[in-house]
Point group: C2
Chain length 188, copies 2
Amino acid sequence: MKSTTTRDEIIESADQLFYKKGFEKTSFSDIANKVNISRGNFYHHFKSKDEILSAVIAYRLEKTEKMLETWQLKGKSPFERIQSFIHILIVNLSKIKLYGCPVGTLTTELNKLQHSSRGEATQIFSLFREWLKSQFNELGFKNHADNYAMHVLSRSQGIATLANTYHDEEFVHYEVKLLIHWLQNLKK
Amino acid sequence: MKSTTTRDEIIESADQLFYKKGFEKTSFSDIANKVNISRGNFYHHFKSKDEILSAVIAYRLEKTEKMLETWQLKGKSPFERIQSFIHILIVNLSKIKLYGCPVGTLTTELNKLQHSSRGEATQIFSLFREWLKSQFNELGFKNHADNYAMHVLSRSQGIATLANTYHDEEFVHYEVKLLIHWLQNLKK
DNA sequence: GTCTATATAATGATAGAC
DNA sequence: GTCTATCATTATATAGAC
């Protein structure tokens, strides 16, 4: 029944490869090999490499939205929910150590490439930003909600970048602790 | 007399292009056009693209060392010197907004490429790290000197990444202020 | 929907004249 | 030291058979 299986497989494989190797370095051959189809078959599903990128970004946007919804339901307070966000640095630590943050590294790469899809990639950031902002709003920090959201995003990005640079897990644990302390002091 | 002029021009042009477009995307044609030489002439000065990368990294290491020496002499206290570091986010703001941090983005890219020179790129980070560490040491934070150095690096990286993502100057000013507050509270 | 060619353009790299 | 010409390889992308 499902005729979209191959298309989905392409998206998921491209998603992983773009993360691990970068968009530019990932070739059709790389993706084709991973999915086990020929390069020619490829263009039946996507007209160009840029179309795959768009599909991958859309896929990531969907996954992010679902994750935020889960955190929204699971977290009993805005405080707990923000902690869920910070905690992905620990949950995904082994991958972050190897490849950095999937959102930050893609956005940075597309920015350098002046790629037309860089705005779409930024939207992934904005999903987190708006979600965090709404948590801080709920905590009563109405004038600084966006500033605090950006602060959490910024700290997380820095942690991911240096974790990737030095492949240092201890550093991440230390910084995550600091960031949660910052959050707790904010509550006072 | 100077027979290294062309070589130096190549390095400086490559340096800028690697920063603006990324290493992978920058081609020999790009560099050759900028220097106004033919692609063939190129290989008289460098055997491969990787050799240019190595030369560019060495060039950046030199420039960084000189900058750190200047800060060391100019700053009257470790506190002032650390502020010099933080302040580059403001000094280079227009470029950071467009291309991110030259150190962080190169390191991240070379990591994804699994490039053999990624260790050399990390050394640029380590220059800053060791220098900051020595400042914190001088301030008396002997047990946490490296942690604090990494913290400053981390915060700076995050700020640069989001400044690049959102092209937001106000955000950088706000975060730099926060980081300096953090530093001042540390002194107590 | 999948495959095997093949077209086309760009890249890194080399050879050899001047 | 600089150039032109050329090679080999790879990449995106297309055409057409099955």
